[in-house]
């Protein structure tokens, strides 16, 4: 449809405003991450929108290099939390994806586990805070508290609904002729699943895995409750970055925030096509 010139003008103006509102908080954090300590805290009208003396000292500080302008030293560096976030998210994703993919295939092809779709949506409905007491007790009992594998297990369960529903829509959409041909060839159904179906689904599997990884990587509350020191994840560690001498370590926190924010944003843009499907439990396909 042909639109009028005033409409086009209005459209670009409105989108420009939306873009500014979207980007200002992100740009402010990026700017803060490269500011030296003298520009962190602002009193009065000395606010600097862009670092006057850009520096990498915030990043160096996070990884244990002492900074002459920063008198405080970190009692632990950001390395361990980054490793913890990576391990728990990757293995949590692996758990959710293997259980979710298998169950989605079982339901899509053989009608097994009819209760799963609704049970898993219900799992998503409840606030994690309302089911954490038993989980904390169980995890303490199993010696899983403050370990990356304990986090990975609960992440795997929490994101299982997304893995299951995403893979279910992919399997439902997939034409069955090829599988049937392989069956006629004399393959067992298990062989068909592992040798024919899964290889064909490589791209959807990768997208679903990235989607689930983003969700696991974004967690704060569960890690806050289930880790105390050894295996705290990036968000928990970030929230603890302050000192009695200087108060909030603005620049260091912003630098760490940037490290935490970059991977999911890149992955999210990469799997844009499947975001709607994943977030609406397959109710809407783009």
């Amino acid at each position: 449809m042909k639109r009028s010139i005033p409409f086009e003008f209005f459209r670009y103006a409105a989108i420009a405003v939306a873009l500014a509102i979207t980007l200002i908080p992100i740009l402010w954090m990026i700017s803060m991450a490269f500011k030296p300590i003298g520009e962190w805290s602002v009193v009065g009208a000395n606010l600097t929108w862009w670092p006057k003396h850009p520096t990498l000292s915030n990043f160096r500080f996070l990884f244990g290099h002492s900074d002459s302008s920063l008198i405080v030293a970190l009692d632990r560096t950001a390395v361990r939390p980054i490793v913890s976030s990576l391990l728990s998210s990757i293995f949590g994703t692996a758990i959710a994806m293997s259980a979710g993919t298998a169950a989605a295939y079982g339901l899509s092809r053989f009608g097994s586990g009819q209760n799963l779709p609704l049970a898993l949506i219900q799992l998503r409905l409840f606030p994690p805070m309302a089911v954490m007491i038993p989980v904390m007790i169980m995890w303490a009992f199993l010696n899983f508290t403050d370990t990356w594998w304990g986090l990975a297990l609960i992440y795997g369960i929490v994101t299982l609904p997304f893995a299951f529903w995403l893979m279910k829509t992919f399997f439902d959409d997939m034409p069955r002729e090829i599988e049937e041909a392989a069956l006629v060839e004399g393959c067992s159904r298990w062989r068909v699943f592992t040798r024919v179906t899964l290889p064909m689904m490589r791209a959807p599997l990768a997208s679903a895995a990235l989607f689930v990884f983003i969700l696991n990587w974004s967690d704060y509350l569960i890690a806050l409750l289930l880790t105390t020191r050894q295996w705290v994840t990036i968000p928990v560690y970030m929230a603890s970055l302050s000192s009695s001498m200087t108060g909030q370590l603005y620049g260091a926190k912003a630098a760490l925030g940037l490290i935490a924010a970059v991977p999911p944003v890149i992955m999210g843009i990469a799997i844009q096509r499947y975001l709607v499907r994943g977030l609406t439990f397959g109710a809407l396909k783009q």
Binding site: L23, P25, M32, A102, M138, F193, L225, G257, I269, T280
Partner: protein, 319 residues
């Protein structure tokens, strides 16, 4: 594999699939494939719920020295539930959660709908703008909370922008004023989740048939009429899904809020998740926490069943 064997007639494929041996094998494999998911669901649903029910009628806490299995020694005659009914801090937290939801979800919906309307049709830069506008929802919520924590400092950028508009320095202490803190927290939520509404609603708008719109234009319908009579009815189901997702997720609001204000000043931004978190980690009366959590789970389950019945009913009416 020879070419001939691939082109098996349709009915023989069906015959193989329907053969008793094949069906048994399928059922067995299906059972095995769904087993891990079933075990995980049971592991996180059935056993913990029973444990929660058990602990919720006791005064048990993790530092009391007794294991959770012997919590029955601390039986308190349902005192947790009667306490809950009289716990004004709980009811206020629940009310605050409802208030945040009542403001944030409609705001996100209307802004998302407006953005989606702007993105109909093709125009230069569309893909790039789309990708940028989606970024907030991919930012780790805790990090987004920290972004807004910085923005709303009294010497921060928000006040700086305001001072440029009013012409003299503004030093509003956003996060330490009870009313403004709640507004700041809601702004952060709207910033992060409007993109989700935008994404879902735009995907729904793509499904609105172009020829119907053209026909309506030829018949003299203006943009508003086309929107209300063609676009909105077509999108009804999608709108319900989008709203339901945000209502569910908004009810859980914790990460951004807790990083920004910690529920404070005082209890000014204490939502239900923050309240439970504080009782869990500070007061350490887990029997009481279990009672709160169970009460919420029961109410949510009733709401969910009711909502699903309504949805099924409305679907039957349409069919």
């Amino acid at each position: 594999m020879s070419a001939a064997s691939v082109s098996v007639p349709e009915d023989s494929v069906a015959a193989v699939a329907a053969a008793p041996r094949g069906r048994d094998e399928g059922a067995r494999l299906g059972f095995r494939l769904t087993l891990p998911a079933q075990v995980l669901v049971l592991f996180i649903a059935a056993f913990p719920l029973l444990m929660q029910l058990y602990i919720s009628v006791t005064d048990w806490g993790p530092l009391g020295g007794t294991g959770w299995w012997s919590a029955w020694r601390l039986w308190n005659n349902f005192a947790n539930y009667t306490d809950l009914a009289a716990d004004m801090r709980f009811w206020h937290a629940l009310g605050r959660t409802g208030l945040v939801m009542l403001i944030c979800v409609p705001a996100e919906f209307l802004l998302g709908l407006a953005l989606a309307t702007l993105f109909t049709g093709d125009f230069p830069g569309k893909r790039l703008f789309y990708s940028i506008l989606l970024m907030p929802m991919m930012v780790v919520p805790a990090v987004a909370g920290y972004m807004f924590f910085m923005l709303f400092q009294s010497g921060g950028p928000v006040n700086d922008i305001l001072s440029k508009f009013v012409g003299h320095p503004v030093t509003i202490a956003w996060l330490s004023d009870p009313n403004l803190a709640l507004i700041a927290v809601m702004i952060a939520d709207i910033w992060q989740w409007t993109p989700l509404m935008f994404l879902i609603l735009l995907a729904g708008m793509v499904g609105v048939p172009e020829d119907q719109m053209k026909a309506a234009t030829l018949l003299g319908a203006n943009a508003w009429q086309r929107f209300t009579t063609i676009v909105l009815p077509k999108m009804k189901a999608i709108i319900i899904i989008a709203l339901a997702i945000r209502v569910i997720e908004n009810f859980k609001i914790f990460d951004t809020l807790y990083i920004m204000t910690g529920g404070g000043p005082g209890v000014a931004t204490e939502t239900i998740s923050v309240y439970i978190y504080k009782v869990t980690t500070q007061d350490l009366i887990w029997g009481y926490v279990a009672a709160i959590a169970l009460a919420i789970l029961i109410v949510l389950s009733i709401v969910a069943v009711f909502a699903m019945k309504r949805m099924v009913a409305s679907r039957e009416v349409r069919a």
